[in-house]
Amino acid sequence: MDAVAIRDVCKSFGEVRAVNNLNMTVPAGSIYGFLGPNGAGKTTTIRMIMNILRPDSGQIALLGDHSVEQTKSRIGYMPEERGLYRKMTVRKVLTYFGAIKDVPPVELTRRVPQWLERLDLAKWADKKVEELSRGMHQKLQFAVTAINEPELLILDEPFSGLDPLNTDMLESIVLEMRSQGKTVIFSTHVMHEAEKLCDSILLINKGRAILDDSLANVRSQQRSHAVCLELEGDTDFVSGLANVTKVKSEGSQLEITLEESADSQELLRSLMEHTRVHSFELKVPSLHEIFVDLVGKSDAEGS
């Protein structure tokens, strides 16, 4: 069963096409990165998933059910615009949101202190929300999202505004949730977060999907043709080798770009014929580079 299935969804605001024929399938039990530059349509898509906005056309199914209202208590959603009742105490806010997400009262008396403890908020339980710092507010927001122990978590920019310690804390909770078989979707434009956590990613730009695959596939297919080398002695001969298109040297390090069809093993063999090789590393493109590359290409096509 897919946690989320989106079919041919479109949404326009006036003249602007925010989401254009988007398809998206999130397998259950995975962490799914929803990536894209600012204004790509990430938040609009998430709001449609949550039935806060209605799509102009297309279909959305959550946890195998077409009626989001029925499944709301099985979902946790953390919007990009954070907000909680400022005049209520931390404990009451958490209890209230648990209650409207259909968590039984008995269960709440157990879970609320547990979550506060886990997020280092126990000391603040009886303080008003407005007294919290931004980071603590963010953590409380996460607790509100997770209080119903949802099968599906949708987090819109979950790590913005958090210090590295708290980021690690939330990341470990997210990973733990996956190990419990839960599905997590999170949107971000910070690529190294996605790289660290995601099983699959969907990259969208201008409301269209431009990449939708598992992270492993993305990496292998988007393999660049660059090699990093460290050689003994004179390295001038390298630029004369077959299939080498570009050589960039940085001290003893060389960065070589090969022709697209070339095999890096061939290069290694011919290098070894000339000299001793200290290090040879195939350069794996970072998600960051893939992002910049693909978004740049799609922008160029669009214009």
């Binding site: 709001r47 949550m50 039935n51 806060i52 906005l53 209202e69 709301k72 208590s73 979902i75 946790g76 959603y77 953390m78 919007p79 615009e81 954070r82 907000g83 909680l84 009742y85 400022r86 005049k87 209520m88 209230y96 949101f97 209650a99 409207i100 997400k101 259909d102 927001q141 509100v144 999202t145």
Partner: protein
């Protein structure tokens, strides 16, 4: 439904808990009690230390005998009312000079008696200059001794005994209320009559205050949720309709709490003062029905207004027309109870915004109201509640996530068309 109740519960508790709400709830009864208490106190003591009024009298009839009569009359007044003394000053100067003294503040009141004042055609002229309320309120302390002096002097000239004339005019009145069976007649006190007059107004005003309180709380709650961006988190747990229904339910309960607390404390205060309210159970049932329906109707209006605005200030301008409609019965209340089946009363009964208040006035005025009219107005109110909720649900759903510029009427109209 579970979720609606939970939203309503939070809405109710968070509203009732605020300091401003508690203050407002307590303020009115405390104020009424204080006024009742001190009014009683003041009447008892008669307040001893009010400054005496400085008065000069120019008597154009020029009779020495009359002059003595006037002085005697003021003296009697001063002994009878030690807290309200009048200081009669000798007046030898001309009228203009006296008026000048009045302007300089040396006199509080200046009186000129016409030459023919003792012959039933003359007048008493009472001059004041930029008089302050205490002086205006105390004018009787000057006028009635003088009237008394004139009366006595006239009697003397006609050779009549003032006491005889007075006793001939005397006819005591006793106002009675017959009980529902014979032998239960009881004397109506002045208080009873005031209460009778004020009951319709009180019940209507209670509704008005309840609506205002509820409306204000409702709008500030919506604006707070909008501004703190909590709305999206809420919508991830409940549907917009559940959220709206919860809000209406919670705040209608707030409105009813206000009405209940004040209604009960007013009845208790009336009982304490020995006043008889006397409202039948049938009328009371109608009242409750009108109150509940009115709160639901205004609640759904407010819930439709809130999401369109971004600040409390913006809500005020949209709220104004609603409040003006509520003020109409407050202005016209005397006309409505005087002629409870007149055209004005009937027309206003079938205009939804004024229906509840006007019907409460008419029912409590004691007039016989055609039952079809009562039922018709209830059906109309119920229909307005449904219509209000229908419109509000559409506005709420779209407006609640809108930030920035306030949408115009046309834009809101478009929201209504969207299913």
């Amino acid at each position: 439904m579970q979720k609606v109740l939970k939203v309503a519960q939070r809405e109710y508790i968070e509203t009732v808990k605020t300091k401003t709400f508690i203050f407002m709830i307590l303020m009115l009864p405390v104020m009424i009690l204080l006024i009742v208490y001190f009014a009683g106190k003041l009447k008892d003591s008669g307040s001893a230390d009010r400054p005496s009024l400085k008065v000069a009298v120019t008597d154009l009839s020029g009779s020495d005998q009359f002059r003595t009569q006037i002085e005697a009359s003021f003296e009697k007044h001063n002994t009878d009312n030690p807290g309200r003394k009048v200081e009669l000053q000798e007046s030898q100067a001309t009228e203009e000079q006296e008026k000048e003294r009045l302007r300089r503040g040396e006199l509080d009141v200046y009186i000129v008696l016409d030459k023919d004042v003792l012959e039933e055609t003359g007048k008493m002229h009472v001059y004041t200059h930029k008089a302050k309320p205490p002086v205006i309120e105390a004018l009787w302390t000057v006028e009635s001794p003088l009237r008394d002096a004139v009366f006595k002097q006239r009697c003397k000239e006609h050779e009549l005994s003032p006491d005889l004339v007075r006793s001939l005019r005397n006819l005591p009145i006793e106002r009675m209320e017959t009980g529902s069976t014979g032998g239960q007649d009881r004397v109506q006190s002045e208080g009873d009559r005031v209460v009778k007059m004020m009951i319709p107004f009180f019940f209507m005003y209670l509704l008005f205050i309840g609506i205002l309180t509820m409306g204000q709380q409702m709008l500030s709650s919506i604006i707070e949720e909008k501004n703190s961006r909590v709305i999206e988190v809420l919508l991830s747990a409940v549907s917009p309709f559940e959220l709206m229904a919860g809000k209406i339910l919670g705040l209608v309960s707030v409105g009813l709490t206000v009405v209940l607390l004040w209604g009960v404390s007013a009845c208790a205060a009336a009982g304490w003062q020995g006043l008889n309210l006397d409202i039948g159970p049938v009328i009371l049932t109608y009242f409750i029905l009108y109150y509940v329906l009115a709160f639901f109707m205004f609640g759904s209006f407010m819930v439709g207004i809130g999401p369109i605005c971004n600040t409390i200030k913006e809500t005020q301008s949209l709220l104004k027309p609603v409040i003006i409609m509520c003020v109409v019965p407050i202005i016209a209340w005397q006309n409505i109870i005087r002629d409870a089946n007149g055209t004005l009363a009937r027309v206003l009964s079938f205009f939804p915004l004024t229906t509840p208040m006007v019907m409460i006035l008419r029912l409590s005025s004691g007039a016989e109201i055609w039952i079809v009219e009562i039922l018709g107005s209830i059906v109309l109110l119920a229909a307005s509640v449904l219509g209000g909720v229908w419109v509000a649900a559409r506005v709420f759903r779209t407006g609640i996530l809108m930030y920035g510029k306030r949408p115009g009427l046309r834009e809101v109209g478009r929201w209504l068309k969207q299913a």
